[in-house]
Each structure stands twice: as C-alpha cells, then as structure tokens.
Amino acid sequence: MKKIINAVDTVVTDALTGLAAAHRELRVDLDARVVYRADGPRPGKVGLVSGGGSGHEPLHAGFVGYGMLDAACPGEIFTSPVPDQIVEATTAVSGGAGVLHIVKNYTGDVLNFEMAAELCADEGVEVARVLVDDDVAVRDSLYTAGRRGTGATLFVEKIAGALAEEGAPLAEVAAIGDEVNARSRSFGVALSACTTPAAGKPTFELAGNEVELGIGIHGEPGRSRGPAGTARELVRVAMDALQADLPLSGDTLVLVNGMGGTPLIELYIAFAEVDAYLREHGATAARSLVGNHVTSLDMQGFSVSVCALTDDLTRLWDAPVRTPALRWGH
C-alpha cells in the first residue's frame, strides 16, 4: 500500500488540518472533529448536519457552506462518527429553528445519529432526520439492512440546504429532503477495489476482465461480478437497474460520480452514455454533475444517481451554493 499519509491513525486528523488551512471559510474543530461554516449559525435558520465515515471526500465536509450544510461530522475511514461529534455539531449550529440530520442508511450511521438525536433532545434542540437510501443495488427487504445511502446524499444536502437558506421551517426542510430521496436512485460499478489505510490491501480482488456490479461506497464487494464491458454496456447495466426501480421520464438531475480513482475523462464518457440512454427513454438530463463527489478512497469506477425533478426541486438545485466542492449562483 502506498498512500500520501503520515500514519494510519492520523489520516483523518491530518486531512482535517489541511482542510482547515485550505478553506478559511470553514471552521474546523480538530478536537471535536466537526467542520463548520465559519459564518454560522444564523438565528432562525434550520441547521443542517451530516456526517459519516471518512474516505468519501468531498462528501461531507466539502459540502459545508452557504446553501448546503452547516456542519459535517467526519468519522474514521468508513466508520460512522460517534454521538459526541454529532451532539457537538448539532448544538453548535442550532439557531433556534431546529436541526436536520442527513443520515446515510447504514447501521452504524443510523445508530450513532439516533443516539445523538436523543441526547440533543435532552438539551432542548429539536432534531429531524432524513434517511438517504437511494442505492437500488440493495434490495430493501426484511433480509437486508435496507438500501444504502450513496450519491443522492449530495442531492438531499444541496436541495434541503437551499430551502433552509430560504428560511423554511424544519418540517418543510425535512420533507423536501425525504422527497428528494424518494425521487432518487443510484447504482455503482467498480473496476477495482479500494485500499483502506487500516487494511493496507484492496478489499476485494477483480480479474483483469471483471467488474463488480452494484457496489457501495465502503469498498464492500457488490452484489455480483460481470465482464468488463464498454462504457455503453456498463452504463446500460446501471441505468437498467435505475429504470427498473423508478421509471424515468421528464426532467432529471443526473450525477455521474467517480469513485475516487477514475479519471474525469472517463466520467465524461460515461455521462455521454447516460445522456443518450435518458433520451432514448424519453427523459432528459436537465441538470447534471460529473466528477468525484461521493467517493470510496482510490476505488476505480463510477456510479450514476438520477433524481426525477419537479419545478421546485429544479429551483432549489439552481439556488446559489458556496462550498469547497460545489459552488454556483450569484
């Protein structure tokens, strides 16, 4: 394993140190392990807190700022944050209008955010939660921990963040988060596994002509293996899976997301295929994002997330945002 790190145990702290130095518009509490907007909290604005294991950068800390998150709680690599972090972040960003927790549906994230929410309630902070579970590769049934939260997390953070910025009350901000989640689906494909610093070797091995289909964002193997096909074939597998779960039509918001080790040129090739697929099926990529946004360390591969837009969602997506990793609008 070769990585640009100082030691396995200091990866998250060292990266947060760099984040703090690079982004003066953020306030990074290294002890509490929370990343804040330097200009928050704003009285009367619903606070948005998210978090999860590290290794998915820029998610979540890269989405802290105007129009998106008020705070992010990074855990160790692929390990959800602990309740203390979440409590600290929640109370700090509370501007009196309540705080929304945006939680990806993993047992660890769910449990730790739940514990934190109880403690926050004890301290008189009203907390609502949006649970993101967009990954169609996992069947949501009695036999699984439910769908995973992946690329749609970015959609939820952006759109709920924009509504909170407009001054909407907690219940509405939570409701739009739920709506975005309900209208979004994702599917991922890996060309290679990632290597966590702790494990020191790839979490699974693929032959030269194999891809892993239906992967998550934690280096866990996918649901099945398939032959490495063309970009068109790989995108078709992903889009067929999305389409089977949520028939596509009309305007959509599309994220073609790199898993961390895939060059941008390949992501644009994938996007061309997604765009063509959507048009073939009577839908449009009305809004899009191509790049490494919800990553899995150095994994090679991509995921596609699609959200069926409404006028409201489009307006909130287009609203100004100023974070390290996402910024537009004036």
Binding site: G108, Y143, A198, A199, H218
Partner: protein, 210 residues
C-alpha cells in the same frame, strides 16, 4: 467479583482485540468494510485511558464506563452495539461493590436484550447476536447447573465460539454484510468473532493466568 475483576476482564479483552486486530479487519474486508479490528482496537485503547483517568469503584461503574467509552469512541455499528451491551449490563448491576457470577450473568442477559432492541437483529441474522446469545444462555445454564465461575465462563466462551463459527454458512440479514445477499455466505461474521473474544477474555481473566 469487584471492580478490579471487571477491569482485569477489560484488560484481557484489550489484549485479545489488539492481537486479533488484523484478523478481525480481514474478516470485515471479506463481507464488510475492513474496519472492525481497527474500530475495536481504537475503542478499547480509549477505554484503558478512561479507566486509569477515573478508576471505577464498582463492577457496575466499570461496565458503564466501558460501554459509554465505546459509544463515544468507536463509531460504526459495533460502537453503539457493544457500548449498549456493556452499558446496560453495568446499569443492571447497580452500585454493589461486589457481584456474584449469577448477577453478572443476569446483567449480561440484560445487555444482550438491549443490543437486540437497538439493532433489531435476531439470532441467525449473522451478527454478534449469534455469538452473544448462546454465550449468555450457556453462562446462565452452567451457573444454574452449579458450575464454578471459571467453568461457567469457559462454557460461555465455548458457546460464543461455536455461535461465531455457526455464522459461516449463514446469509447476513443485518449490517453491511446483508448488502452482499448470498455472497455473504461462507464467511465468518467479524462481530460474532469479536464477541467470542470478549467471552473468552472473561474466562481467561477468571482463570488468573494467560
């Protein structure tokens, strides 16, 4: 058994977890996200520090401190689950300075119930519950059958080890491994493996020798 007994147990878990760190992580790499060893190692190291900063006066104290520290330092699924297990057990023990093996067994039974409530895992879902459930049951049974504490703890450890092994053929229905569906079959659940270490540590510390 006093607070010192519990801190001995914790020390022994810490040692076993440190020694098995790579193995637990490798098990987690196969069907999870390759962090279980690192998670527990980090957690128990923090527990050690907490214990020396504030030595507990009673067994209940010690277990509550242990559970609380795991909740606050581990993260992931295992942090809240193991944290709840020990914290609930500690609360059940109350503030007696000395507890009997039967009292400890009852407390661990309560801890397990809290874990099941929190994670809503049933036996057979391929989780730590699959090792903890038979372990706690065997412990209660052995003590009821009149076994001494050393023997009873050994029975608990054996039952945990067997319960862990029995997770191999299962298809996971909880936690990350459930995402794999049938591909989770044929692998030992990392949490069940660490539960077996925890129970084995109890036996070792009661034996007073490693």
């Amino acid at each position: 058994m006093d607070a010192a007994f519990i801190t001995d147990w914790i020390d022994e878990i810490t040692r076993l977890v440190a020694g098995e760190r790579e193995h637990l992580t490798a098990l987690d790499a196969a069907i999870g996200d390759a962090d279980h060893g690192a998670n527990l190692d980090r957690g128990f190291a923090a527990v050690r520090a907490a214990l020396s900063a504030r030595p507990p006066g009673t067994p209940g104290d010690a277990l509550v401190l242990l559970g609380g520290t795991l909740i606050r330092k581990v993260g992931g699924a295992s942090g809240p689950l193991y944290g709840t297990f020990f914290r609930q057990a500690g609360k059940s023990l109350g503030d007696s300075p000395e507890v009997s093996p039967a009292e400890l067994a009852a407390a661990l039974t309560d801890g397990l119930a809290a874990v099941r409530a929190l994670g809503s895992a049933e036996q057979g879902d391929k989780t730590m519950v699959d090792a903890l459930t038979p372990a706690v049951r065997a412990l209660e049974q052995a003590l009821q059958d009149g076994a001494g504490r050393r023997k009873a703890f050994d029975a608990a450890a054996r039952a945990a080890e067997e319960g862990a092994r029995a997770t191999v053929p299962l298809r996971a229905r909880k936690g990350r491994a459930s995402y794999l569906g049938e591909r989770s079959m044929g692998h030992l659940d990392p949490g069940a493996a660490s539960s077996a270490l925890i129970m084995r540590a109890l036996h070792i510390s009661a034996s007073g020798s490693r």
